[in-house]
Amino acid sequence: MDFLNAIIVLFNFTVIPALAYGSQLALGAIFVTLIYAVLRFANFATGDMMSFGTMFAVILTYYFQSLGFGLGVLPTALLTIPFAILMMILYMLIIDKFVFSYYRIKKSPPVQFAMVSVGVMFVTQALIRIIIGPSDRRFLDGEKFIIKATEFKEMTGLAEGITLKSTQAITIIVTLIVVSIMFWFLNRTKTGTSMRAYSDNEDLALLSGIDPKRVVLITWVIAGILATIGGVLYGLDKSYRPFVYFNNMLPIFAAAIVGGIGNPFGAFLGGYVIAFAEIFVTYAYKRFISYLLPEHLEPDSLLQLLSTDYKFAVSFSILVIVLLIRPSGIFKGKVI
């Protein structure tokens, strides 16, 4: 019984949050990696682009709520995602047309692209703050919990309970659906294959008649979908605050590089690697251990490897270690 309790404590406080957080990171990391693979630059506006898409979802959610639309137990935000995606793609295409395409045609070095994306980051951040303001917003409605700790305890008769927030379940399910559709698209369809060909060898792809404009367009469309969904899921789970989204760019980059930048599947797993590492290293194991050990051996300290303040630092350290030992990432991405 004690063993079961220990497992449930671990599951409740580490595995479930890590799966949800990892899914959000994974979507962002695939976004980074796609832009890197096809358009060949590190996009420093990642966090703010996700924030921009989420902003539309937030505004539309408020609008729908005022009209009385809703999905009942599910959050209204899910209904607004398609519209937010459309706006986001439009914004990305405008940015691409007026900013990035010039440098792409000139074949500028990646560093210049990165600096340009810093400019885009500033502009996007300004637009977000001017349109919606920098404050913290919650836009979750509908049922909050799927399983409550007390219900679980009653049901199973265990001393420890499992809490499953509806946002966590939605996050994991939506991520799995989106990612599997995307991998099917990249690997099975003709357009997906042409994108991969363009990413592998631009000149050869052009020679075999692939239209670069179409590839770029589709990349931005997929990027818009990933960025908006990832952003909205994060906002539903925690809350929407522009500054936090900007900061999230850093673990997302870490996830993309750890997984092997340019490799979408690597980025997907990288998100979970980063999330699990962050949570496992900063989790206090006292309660877990106290179930496993006999009573007189119970530990005094929290048994925490690092305090939760260092959550981000953990993911960055993993990145540094990966860069040192295996610069191409866990799953071979583009070689540095």
Binding site: F41, A42, F44, V99, Y102, P109, P110, V111, Q112, A114, M115, V116, V118, G119, V120, M121, F122, V123, T124, Q125, A126, L127, R129, I130, G133, P134, F246, L250, F253, A254, I257, S301, L305, L306, S307, D309, Y310, F312, A313, F316, S317, L319, V320, L323, L324, I325, P327, I336
Partner: protein, 456 residues
Amino acid sequence: MRNYKNVIAAYSIMIFLIILVGIFQSWSIALTILNYCLISAVMTIGANIQWGYAGLINFGIMGYTALGGLAVVLVSVEPVKKAWQVGGLNILACIWIIVAIIFVVKFILNRFDKSKLRNYSVASVILGGIILLRVTAAPGIEAIESVDPARTGFLGGMGLPVLFSWIVGALLAGSLAFVIGKIALGLRADYLAIATLLIAEIIVSIIKHEEWLARGVKNVIGLKRPAPYEIDLQTSEWFINLVTKFNSSKLNLINSISDKQEALNQMVIDASSVYVKLCFTGLFLTVVIILLIVTQKALYSPWGRKMRAIRDNEEAASAMGKNIVKEHLLIFILGSAIVGLAGAMMVTNDGLFTPGSYRPMRYTFVIWVMVIVGGTGNNFGAILGGFVVWFLWVEAAPIALFLINLFTSHLPETNAMRVHLIESAPYFRFLVIGIGLLLIMRYRPQGIIPEKIIKQ
């Protein structure tokens, strides 16, 4: 002289703008802006050495700035003796443990060949070391943080003059750059940018959360300053006489004696803050001029030519027998040390150390915009970039507010659109900086004052 025409013109416009602020807003604000412009200029000199001379992209500027600021606390604050008594031993033991870990890891790396076993043993040494560190440090840290937590709760510094901390700040930042350079310099440009950005975040989060070191997010206030204090000035005879002398014509217009005294008091208060800021301006200007002379000399020396050669064609430079790894590391350390110096200057100027305020937006990206806008590879350009961008960063909000009021003047005061725009005026600075950067990158990629190669 013709070569310097646009340089002189650009700087005159900048100084004219600051004087305009002095006339329209106040001289105190103008001098604050000028001081921050000078500090930004030091940072851009540091970033420009790395990016303009050698082509290294360093997004870790925030980390070095924070480290420079930390140096001010560690050097100038009086030591907290009680904290040292209760927890000093544990902290010293921790330092020895860290040194031991580094030596053991180095020993393993040097002694054994690359293998899985070696990786695992290094990992286990580090993991065991961290656990040992936590066990040793925990009682010490708890004891230190409980010593009068409202005012101290940290180890304090060495109680030395504050100017000395500028050098220490540079040294600290330089030694950090040595470590980071060893780790990350082999990476390709955009990876280097990401890696340095993330490492800087680690540094800042350590400074933020290790309260025994510098009080963390509880901030350290009332730092020493190399300039006189306003209160002392306001009571000293010579200063009041000086103010009276300067403003005698204005004072003579006032007839009643009590009004005269009141006006004089106000003038003395205003003048004391201006005087203190002028002292800082003098100090900062000295630093900027010294750095400018040194970096200009270096740029046009054989060493500077070597750096440019490495930047423009690594393979060719390598074939000519230049040690690229070593030179990159050297310039990475030098540039970072200058940024650390700027960080120390900034904290000295503010008189307080607030680790929570170190954010990548303000301390990395804005500095980079300064370098790119000003002119990469040209020190005059980089300094000008520091001035222009900082000026825009500060003055964008008032200008935006003025423009919003102008364009919406036909709308009623309560119009929702107008109220919303006025509320969001502070965020127009991001828009101005972003659009400015994008325009410069597109139409004048070499910056306002481009790099000049003198044929020798």
